[in-house]
């Protein structure tokens, strides 16, 4: 893993709001949020369900768009980017780890890890080598040709972690990564995530579980769409 310069902003969020209109009701899912995350940080965003933490994560992950405010990802003003540019940003800057793993069931572990590299246009051979390297790193070198259905939950989440790292992104976004796992697998997964942070990856972890959140170096609380540090 390359060494990155410390104290550079990976995420800068200014006065961000997300407003849903449901008929006549206006729901402020996120209300005037300010947040900066530096290179190499390990931040957990913790809050109960309905607090707006998933909405925040989706906006940070460029999967959803905000209603008001500014959001800079690694210096890119996301308001100025079209759908294609956002896809490129997701491809090279963000690695997702989802609660429900979100692996493609019909692809093998190897193919799942290769997928982000396919969309980035990495040549086949390099892709293969990198995918094998990453799967070895998460301890699945003997399972590379297995499909997700042939793997345990913990193993599937490790495949997802390998996939998130495929394009060597600046930012790893983990949304309740241990939520669907037994405590043993959950510990293993958290261990890997902490190791990633030690190697220099910036990590944002979203959870409702305060015990998981406390493993991060910095904890941000979110409640009713507002942030409290």
């Amino acid at each position: 893993m390359e060494n990155r310069k410390e104290n550079r902003n990976v995420i800068t969020i200014k006065n961000l709001s997300k407003i849903y209109k449901m008929g006549d009701n206006i729901v402020k899912a996120l209300d005037n949020i300010n947040l900066t995350v530096d290179e190499g940080e390990f931040v957990s965003i913790v809050g109960p369900s309905g607090s707006g933490k998933s909405t925040l994560m989706n906006i940070i992950g460029c999967l959803d768009v905000m209603t008001e405010g500014e959001y800079y990802l690694n210096g890119n003003d996301t308001r100025k980017l079209n759908e294609n540019k956002l896809a490129e940003l997701r491809s090279s800057e963000i690695g997702f780890i989802f609660q429900s793993f979100n692996l493609l069931q019909k692809l093998s572990a190897l193919e799942n890890v290769e997928l982000p590299m396919i969309y980035k246009g990495i040549p086949a051979k390099e892709r293969y080598n990198r995918a094998v390297e990453l799967l070895t790193m998460v301890g699945l070198e003997k399972r590379i040709h297995h499909r997700p259905t042939e793997l345990s939950g913990g193993q599937q989440q490790r495949v997802a972690i390998a996939r998130a790292l495929a394009n060597n992104p600046h930012l790893i976004l983990a949304d309740e990564p241990t939520g669907n796992l037994d405590s043993q697998s959950g510990k293993e997964v958290m261990k890997i995530i902490k190791e990633l942070n030690e190697r220099g990856n910036t990590i944002i972890l979203i959870t409702h579980d305060i015990n998981v959140a406390n493993q991060a170096k910095r904890t941000v609380k979110i409640m009713d769409g507002k942030i409290y540090e």
């Binding site: 959803d64 896809a87 997701r90 491809s91 997702f96 982000p116 980035k120």
Partner: protein, 390 residues
């Protein structure tokens, strides 16, 4: 994303849904097969008719005389004078009538044609036995007859007709020749005709109206010049009355027949094309189901960096592959079907390269057209909505 990768992904998903892909393909297969089969059938029929017309002699010019009354009819020598041109090699005036032919106790109404010695060559007739009408038969108004093969079997059964005397409307004629069977033909078959010297016919009918003239041009490329000459002569004879005659040459006849049967082939192809379009709707239907089923997959792909065009490409290739493979299989089955049809209908039915290319590209086009909407729908999904889809 590399095209190869998109193709790989699409093939994978087609193979993952074998039965569904197969059934969808079947629609295209049947469509392409029926287009090829029916168009080839039409073309085979055209070829059959065309070769029959060609067998009548390719330089042939046919004149029908419609003249009303004695004033506008033609005499034998007038008719022969029309053939007086360096571009015309042979001419035979014809006078046709129906008469009762009788031998022993067999009596049939048959078509009697008075012709001269050139007629046999003009119509490519073949003799089974005996001889055809000779020039001298006309000169001395011989009462001789050459009979078609059906007439021979009607009147004589298994008896050899040669040298026998038949009665045509009560007049005795000696059979001097029997024609070989010409098979069925679109022009009135000569198998059912009796030919006698035309000048004998004049006597026998007490009427000199020539009903037709057959001429042949010396070369195929002179058919038009010869026809022009004939027209001029007839104009002079009939004092410009264009309604008194009608000229038809072989190429006119060919092009008429061709245009009729081409229209027929197109119509058959069009009907089969409807089957192809129905197959296309099947593709669209299944692709829409597939997009809905795979909404979450599309969301995951988008989260991992797939652009709109990557998703579009993946689904387009899927529908194009289904229609393309369906098209190829359809071409193969179309070949087999037209071969079988040709075999059982005794026709030369072989699909032309054009038919194959057109029907195959049409199937691709259908895949493209009907795949567009579902693929666009998939590509246009918002990542967050797709990812949340359960």
């Amino acid at each position: 994303m590399a095209l190869m990768q998109a193709i790989k992904m699409s093939l994978k998903s087609i193979i993952d849904n074998k039965l569904r892909s197969f059934l969808t393909m079947l629609g295209i297969v049947i469509g392409v097969m029926s287009v090829i089969g029916l168009v080839s059938l039409g073309q085979g029929a055209t070829e059959g008719v065309t070769s029959q017309i060609k067998s009548m002699g390719s330089n042939l010019i046919m004149v029908s005389i419609m003249g009303r009354g004695m004033d506008t009819s033609l005499s034998y020598s007038q008719a022969m004078s029309i053939g007086d041109s360096p571009y015309i090699s042979q001419i035979s005036p014809i006078m046709s009538a129906n008469a009762y032919a009788k031998y022993g106790d067999q009596s049939y109404e048959e078509n009697i044609s008075g012709v001269n010695e050139n007629y046999m060559a003009l119509r490519n007739l073949k003799l089974r036995e005996g001889r055809f009408i000779l020039s001298i038969d006309n000169d001395v108004r011989q009462k001789v007859a050459v009979i078609g093969s059906n007439v021979a079997s009607d009147l004589f059964g298994f008896t050899d007709p040669l040298g026998k005397t038949i009665k045509l409307d009560g007049n005795n004629f000696t059979v001097v020749g029997v024609l070989a069977s010409g098979g069925s033909s679109i022009s009135n078959s000569y198998d059912d005709s009796i030919f006698i010297p035309i000048k004998t016919m004049f006597v026998f009918q007490r009427n000199r109206g020539i009903t037709q003239i057959y001429l042949s041009a010396t070369e195929e490329q002179y058919v038009n010049i010869a026809q022009y000459h004939v027209e001029n002569m007839l104009n002079t004879i009939f004092k410009g009355d264009k309604n008194a005659y009608r000229i038809l040459n072989q190429s006119d006849l060919l092009s008429t027949v061709n245009s009729v049967s081409n229209t027929l082939s197109m119509m058959l192809g069009g009907i089969a094309g409807i089957a192809l379009i129905v197959g296309g709707i099947g593709i669209m239907n299944i692709m829409l189901v597939s997009v809905t089923e795979r909404t979450r997959e599309i969301g995951i792909r988008k989260a991992l960096g797939a652009k709109k065009k990557d998703i579009l490409l993946q689904f387009m290739i899927e529908s194009l592959t289904i229609s393309g493979v369906g098209g190829i299989v359809g071409v193969i089955f179309g070949f087999i079907a037209s071969y079988l049809m040709g075999h059982f209908m005794n026709m030369a039915v072989s699909p032309s390269i054009n038919t194959i290319i057109i029907s195959f590209s049409f199937s691709l086009l259908i895949g493209l057209f009907f795949g567009m909407y579902p693929a666009n729908k998939a590509a246009g999904l918002k990542p967050i909505d797709a990812l949340r889809y359960e």
